[in-house]
């Protein structure tokens, strides 16, 4: 046996440790990603052979009313979920950060339950809550004189119904991120403010909010990306309907691929989605480099 130098042996071991993971990720993530780019220039339904059509898939995509509809629906979904779920998450974190409250751990766990349950089960449960005649949501609304909303079958309410589920599902997650951010704020700031007689609200606005801004930005972007990727609730509750009012971009992609078998066209949608993800990530990097540190 050849005795290798220690450095060489270390390098060899290094490669052996990373190769299995590298192999899996290249074959099952990078190869598909590259293939999505490639297939997006072809017309292909998996039955007949692939046919090169240049940029035609993209041309069709950008001229398709359905595509722009799905972009609009996704945009409204993002707007509708990001703002409330970040604000409510922040408020709950601030509440659970109050020192004299007993049982904070229990409440944190209770708020977190929707996060750990599957979106599929959550969507089935909400389907029942939204049932027009006997569902709990309409029952509560009827107390306030609002009657008989057809949550999932009325085009003007279906997206709102999904937004409510999306917010409910993510509040706990955002809250935990904010709680972690709150731990980093030194207690001495609050003590100093108290000596000056600041009210709890003043302390929240003048100390907590500014010092928490890096966390807020991070939560905001994480939530933005999660909302951009919404799929399961749409698939289980509305299948993109009624009248395409909930056809988000992921569901549009899914239908074109696995319902109409337009693999080339679907790949073009995937490429556009990926390009948007890259832009979001770059914005995140840019913003997080500029974010303010108080040390």
């Amino acid at each position: 046996m050849i005795r290798l130098r220690r450095r060489t042996r270390e390098a060899l071991t290094g490669w052996v440790t990373v190769l299995p993971a590298l192999f899996v990720q290249v074959i099952f993530i990078y190869l598909p990603l590259a293939w999505a780019f490639y297939v997006s220039f072809f017309s292909w339904n998996m039955i007949r052979p692939m046919r090169y059509i240049g940029f035609r898939n993209y041309e069709r995509l950008f001229n398709s009313a359905d595509f722009w509809n799905s972009m609009g629906v996704t945009g409204i979904y993002i707007l509708g979920t990001v703002i409330p779920s970040v604000i409510i998450g922040l408020l709950l974190a601030a509440l659970l950060n109050i020192e004299w409250i007993k049982g904070r751990g229990v409440f944190r766990t209770l708020f977190y339950i929707p996060v750990i349950t599957s979106m599929a089960a959550a969507a089935v449960i909400w389907g029942w809550l939204y049932e027009p005649n006997f569902g709990l949501v309409n029952y509560f609304l009827s107390i306030f004189g609002i009657n008989n909303i057809k949550w999932l079958s009325d085009p003007s309410y279906a997206l709102l119904a999904l937004i409510i589920v999306g917010v409910w599902k993510r509040i706990g997650y955002n809250m935990v991120l904010f709680l972690a951010g709150l731990q980093t704020i030194p207690k001495t700031y609050y003590e100093a403010a108290e000596i000056d007689g600041a009210t709890p609200w003043k302390k929240f606005v003048n100390i907590t909010l500014p010092l928490l801004s890096p966390t807020t930005l991070f939560v905001f972007i994480m939530q933005f990306i999660a909302s951009f990727r919404v799929f399961v609730s749409v698939s289980v509750m509305t299948s993109g309907g009624p009248a395409k009012s909930t056809q988000v971009i992921t569901y549009y992609l899914y239908e074109n691929a696995f319902k109409y078998l337009k693999f080339g066209y679907a790949s073009a949608i995937a490429v556009v989605m990926f390009a948007m993800m890259v832009v979001f990530t770059l914005i995140q990097f840019r913003l997080s480099r500029r974010r303010v540190h108080y040390q």
Partner: protein, 276 residues
């Protein structure tokens, strides 16, 4: 020490927190109550907040109508296998990246972590084609092989390994122990909390997975629990008591499990901020 506010204010704060906790968990309470109601009792106005039947008849019927037991078994098998494989693949790669010096290590790290930027929705079409080429359609392999490693797991473990003092290994190196021996005998035993956290996340993610099994599994007997409980079979659509019984079966064990492991969970997100 800061002083507590007056009692009425404390009461209001407690009531507000309690109110939010109730509202957030009301859907699960309602699911549970409905699964213990007769069909007639579920469809009354005003709704009753108490169960009407105190036995498991909806559950028995749900298990007869769809192969729930089979789904649970399938999903446990897949989720546990993926978790086990990820423990091996991710910890190995994380160790190499945290401790071993080799040319290209930085590039490898970028490649492995870069996949966080690629959402599964983007690659689902070509991944389906590849998996089909491999002959994996309708096989559990389709749900296991592509997920044997994950950027999140590698990142989490690498962070943890880098925090282990090097002195602990140096003595072993002087004694002539190989790197792999050090990894197995020293690093892994010291990293139980991180491995445990990663395993929990991976198991939960794959227990909850919906989109990918929906695409690659068509055989009803081989389906995963989340797709199983959300798909419609004839006569199933409007039977909300049965559907709630099925959802209860999929959700309540996970919630109970979560109460025991929530500490590892919440700390895991605080460390990485990457995974839900």
């Amino acid at each position: 020490m800061r002083r507590k506010p007056a009692l009425p204010i404390r009461l209001i704060v407690y009531l507000a927190i309690l109110f939010v906790a109730v509202i957030i968990n009301l859907p699960f309470f309602w699911m549970l109550v409905t699964s213990f109601k007769t069909e007639d009792a579920a469809f009354t106005i005003p709704p009753s907040f108490l169960p009407t039947i105190f036995d498991f008849r909806n559950f028995v019927k749900a298990f007869e109508l769809i192969p729930l037991a089979r789904y649970i078994w399938n999903t446990l098998f897949v989720a546990l296998t993926v978790t086990l494989l990820q423990l091996i693949f991710n910890s190995l790669a994380a160790y190499g990246l945290a401790r071993l010096r080799f040319r290209g290590a930085n590039v490898v790290f970028m490649i492995l972590i870069g996949t966080l930027m690629v959402p599964p929705e983007v690659t689902m079409v070509p991944l389906y084609v590849i998996v089909k080429q491999f002959g994996f359609i309708d096989k559990y392999r389709a749900l296991i092989v592509p997920f044997m490693s994950s950027a999140f797991g590698i990142f989490l473990l690498r962070q943890f390994f880098m925090g282990i003092p090097r002195e602990l290994e140096e003595a072993a190196i002087i004694d002539g122990a190989s790197r792999m021996k050090i990894f197995v005998r020293i690093i892994l035993p010291l990293s139980k909390p991180a491995l445990y956290t990663m395993a929990l996340y991976t198991f939960l993610a794959h227990w909850n997975e919906y989109m990918w099994p929906l695409i690659v599994i068509n055989d009803a007997k081989k389906q995963m629990i989340q797709v199983g409980i959300s798909q419609f079979v004839s006569g199933w659509e409007t039977q909300w008591t049965l559907r709630m019984a099925a959802s209860t079966t999929a959700v309540i064990p996970i919630i109970i499990f979560f109460f025991f492991v929530q500490k590892q969970f919440v700390e895991g997100i605080s460390i990485s901020g990457l995974k839900e």
